[in-house]
Every structure is written in structure tokens, then in C-alpha cells.
Symmetry: C2
Subunit: 322 residues, 2 copies
């Protein structure tokens, strides 16, 4: 499945392999991760965040990120994304050949210090240094650089987060040379009115082409309601996690990503083509559950099944096997 296919209306960015695996105790073997990535790409998922270039002593679950990028790059048409916490991680991401790298920038400065061990000024310095490193990279090997606006909807440490602060950071990140910014509801505090308002404000401030994606959590069950607001605001890339595993391990009480299967069902049943074969996606879920026997997977569609007579927005290339 070619993610740049004009037939895709909404692009799913699978983050279970990063946001999911960093949040659980189990360490999934590299071969099992490759099987997950390959199977989900084959089901039609156009983008997968395969890991994070953080020190292995902090997140041993993700120590094999470079190997996973190299593997994922062999899969036709897949957009290979990684998370990077700083310049060092960005250099590793560039070296790995990733197509996209995201730096989380916590709008809540308390959360920034807890999560990235850096003040806002220090993260801005890092953004500038990453942009400089990208300029030294040949264009053909240059990943797209996104600054993710973490805790944009509120923070478990600070509570409400000032929307003007979100705007200032988005504007400054783009001024410094980030290709894109993305809203991230790290703590699962967001509501649809807020998603719409913040997206509209950021679009007005930096241009619609500078923000196309959003990372929402389902901590309080509001994930898909928030997706509705994101769609209305014109966003076209939605992060989600197979089986809903994951969340942010540094934000106490925050857990639960949007479930990829439930999200794809929502979009397809509304007539929005994702290019994803839901039957095959449910098979990948079963495969991941088998590889992570001690972990809980979440979501509704896997239990309830597709409705009788369900019709895709556009039929997938290979009909669902289940």
C-alpha cells in the first residue's frame, strides 16, 4: 500500500511499536517486532513509528530502533517514523535512514523537565541544533522533522495548559525550521472543542501545511470523539496504537492510546478511506497478543467484530481474511 496514494483520505500512523512498547514491562524480541511491523504494513498501514532513539539504559525495550528502521525501510511504500528526544537521537535517526522524526516538546515546562530533563529554552536550542544537522544532510537522506507539542491539552503535573503557550511554541518551532508541528494529548485531558480550537489557531498561525497530524490518547474514553474534531479541523494523519497499548510512562495516571482497529473502523464506516484491510489488522492484533502474552490489549472491534454487511469506504486490495 503506497501511503502517498491519492486514494487515501486519512493516514493512520501506528505508534504501538514505540508508544506501546515503551510503556509495558515486557521486552518484545526484535524478530517479533519485525513481524509486527511487516504484518501491519502488509495490512495497509501507511506509517509506523518503529522506535525511539533514546539511551538503551532508559528504555531497553526500544534499544533495537536502528535495526528496526533498516528493516522497515525494506517494506515497499511504508513511511518509517521514529521519536527522538534530542540532537543525539536526531543524529541517530538521520543515520538510520528514517523518513520522519518527531521531537516531543512539552508545553508544560514541569513535564518537559520530568520527561526530557530540559527547560523550554534548552529544547528550543535542541530544535535549532537538529535543524542545523538536517541542513548538513543530503536532501535525499533528510527525514521530515516534526516537533510534537506534548501536554498541549493539559498536564498531570500542572493541570490546565495555556493555549497561548502552545501557539508560541508552535510558531517558534516553525521559525527555527521544523517541517511540521503536531498536537499531542499526552495526559488524555483533551476534549473535542479544545482539539478544534487549538488546531484552528495553529493552522492560522503557521499554516495548515505545517500541521497535519495529531496524537490523541484515550485515557478518559474521549479518543474517538476527539478524532471527530480533528477530522473537522482538516487534520489528515491520526496516531493510534494496535490494541491500544501504551501511553506516557512519565505522566502518572496517563494510559491508553487510541485503538488502531477501532479508529480504522470509525473512519472506513464514515466513508473515509484508510487503505487498511481490517480483517488483516485484526490478525496482526492476534499475532501481537500471542507475542505479548502477559499484556492486556484494549478496544471494542476485536470483540464485537465488523457489523453484518459492513462496507469499506473503498474495498481493500486483498479482501479481509477474517
Amino acid at each position: 500500500m503506497d501511503p502517498s496514494s491519492p486514494s487515501i483520505d486519512i493516514e493512520i500512523s501506528e505508534v504501538g511499536t514505540r508508544d506501546g512498547l515503551q510503556s509495558i514491562e515486557s521486552i518484545l524480541p526484535t524478530e517479533a517486532k519485525k513481524a509486527w511491523i511487516a504484518a501491519e504494513a502488509a495490512a495497509g498501514v501507511p506509517e509506523i513509528e518503529v522506535g525511539s532513539f533514546v539511551p538503551a539504559r532508559l528504555l531497553p525495550q526500544l534499544a533495537d530502533t536502528a535495526e528496526l528502521v533498516a528493516f522497515a525501510k525494506t517494506l515497499p511504500g511504508l513511511n518509517v517514523a521514529v521519536l527522538v528526544p534530542n540532537l543525539k537521537g536526531a543524529r541517530a535517526a538521520i543515520e538510520s535512514g528514517a523518513d520522519k522524526m518527531s521531537l516531543p516538546f512539552s508545553v508544560s515546562e514541569s513535564h518537559s523537565r520530568a520527561n526530557l530533563k530540559r527547560s523550554h529554552a534548552q529544547v528550543f536550542d535542541e530544535v535549532g541544533a537538529i535543524v542545523a544537522a538536517l541542513k548538513e544532510t543530503p536532501a535525499a537522506r533528510r527525514p521530515r522533522f516534526e516537533v510534537g507539542l506534548s501536554t498541549a491539552f493539559g498536564c498531570t503535573l500542572e493541570g490546565a495548559v495555556d493555549e497561548d503557550a502552545v501557539l508560541r511554541i508552535a510558531e517558534r518551532a516553525v521559525e527555527l525550521g521544523a517541517d511540521e508541528v503536531g498536537l499531542s494529548d499526552t495526559a488524555g485531558y483533551g476534549n473535542p472543542a479544545q482539539v478544534r480550537r487549538l488546531t484552528d489557531r495553529i493552522h492560522a498561525a503557521v499554516g495548515r501545511e505545517r500541521m497535519t497530524g495529531i496524537h490523541l490518547h484515550n485515557t478518559r474514553g474521549q479518543g474517538l470523539a476527539n478524532v471527530m474534531a480533528a477530522l473537522e479541523a482538516g487534520l489528515t494523519t491520526i496516531d493510534s496504537s494496535l490494541g491500544g497499548i501504551g501511553g506516557c510512562p512519565f505522566a502518572p495516571g496517563a494510559s491508553g492510546n487510541i485503538v488502531t482497529e477501532d479508529l480504522v473502523f470509525l473512519l472506513e464506516s464514515m466513508g473515509l478511506n484508510t487503505g487498511i484491510d481490517i480483517g488483516r489488522l485484526l490478525e496482526v492484533r492476534a499475532q501481537v497478543q500471542a507475542a505479548l502474552p502477559g499484556e492486556s490489549l484494549y478496544g471494542f472491534l476485536a470483540d464485537a467484530g465488523l457489523p453484518k454487511g459492513f462496507a469499506y469506504a473503498r474495498p481493500p486490495a486483498s479482501p479481509a481474511a477474517t
Copy 2:
């Protein structure tokens, strides 16, 4: 809390005491039901469907509906609703003093035969007979009569349901004298585009004042996304169930109502006043869980808690105790 208060933006209609209790094995004692109804009314819930006037041999769980209506009518300002399957049930509802009664009309004729043991023609006859019975009732004792369009979004027996058929039944029910029609996603098949389209079409056909409410299920996790579409279409009454218990026992695979706690959190965080105190609502949930020790309750907010710094659309009269 007065449900007709102009300060309420969206009216929650609690159906756990009917749709919930009819779907589970446990029979909740009448005194425990009264305690639930009283506590939820005290938390600010403006309408509660307290039971169903069906034969006790079919649903022994709801055999005490008349006593519950009488009790609920003593609670100030509460709108007391019941379900009625036929004329006999409607007569009992009128006799009981209920404020509102809903007759489920399955748009899927297969489901109608399975659920109500009646063809469409027979249910229309029943609607006509109920309207005649209401005309003989003094205006002050006349409950509002709603025809609920069950399986409007699809049916586990028939699959897709023709939207024109939904429209025809809505129009005919209003012609026959029903005060209102309501859309009901019995099988949890609905999607937001469909909610919006069907609501708009029914509003155009019978007038906005003839459809103000919707009954959505969360079988496939789409409940709150569908609520977003309902709000945009201008609906102002949303059914939900405390702890998400319930669903339709006659539709195989269908389970899971929208969770009242999660819905109220969605609405309040968007700035829509429900008049409900979420802390007290969570206390009612704990009370119901204690009264139903063998049953699973669902939802996210009860586990995750309110966000730090959470602000109501308008502060409730009595601050949250939790």
C-alpha cells in the same frame, strides 16, 4: 435539579435502570433500584428511564416498574421515563404516572418480529391504539409518547438497514400522533456520518421538535464519536447508562451502552452544561457496583479520574465530593 432549567445545554437520560438491568442476570432488589434512582437524580441527572412495562415472565428484572415510577415521581424535578412494548404496557405506563414512554419500533422487520413479536403493520396498529388511549387520558396525566426507531443504523439479523425505511416509519409514527421519534443504534452499528445524515433527514421530514433525542450504543467503541455527530445535528437529549451496563439482549453480539460518566465528562469539558455533579455521579457508580457485585461496569473516567484543574461548563450546585 430541574430538567427544564434553561441552564442545561444537553439533557442526559439515564437508561441503566432499564436497558442495563434488563441485560444482566442479577435481579437488583427494588430498594437498591430506588437508592440508585434517588442518588442519580440527586447528582443532577434530569431524566431516568426507571423500567419497562413488559410481562414479568419475560423480564423478571423489571417487574417492579410501577413501584419505581411512583417512587421516582416523588423526586423533585426528575423526568420519569419508561419503555413500553405495546398498548398494554402503555396503559400501565399511563396508569403509573410516568412522564414519558417510549415504544421501540424496529426498522428491521426481522428484529421487530424477534424483539416485539410483531410485524411493522402490527406495530403501527399499536402506535395508533396508544395514541387513542392517550387522547382518553386527561392532559395533566398524559405522558409524552416517543416512538424509538430501533436498529435504525443496522441490524445483526438483516445487516444494513434502508435509510428510506427509517424515514417512512418516522413520518408515519408522527402522522399517527406520536409526540416524538428517537433514533436508536440497537446493534452498535452506527457511525457519525450516518448519525448526522439520518438526523438531518428526519428533522427535515417531521420537524426538529419531533426528534430531540438519540440512543447510541458503544458496542464497537464508537459511542462518543457518534455523540459528537448528534450534537452537531442539534440533538439535545442523549441516552446513556451508568457504568455502561446494558445493551439489547435480543440482538446477539450487541452489548455496551454509552457510559454516563464518560459522556458527562465529554460534554462538561466541551463547555456544555449537563447540570450533573461528576463526583456525585462516580459515587452512584460505586454504590451500584456494590449492589451488583457480580456484574462488570465499564468506562474510563472512573479509573482515570477527572483531569487536574478540571472545570465544569458551569459549576454544579454542590461541589464534587470526590
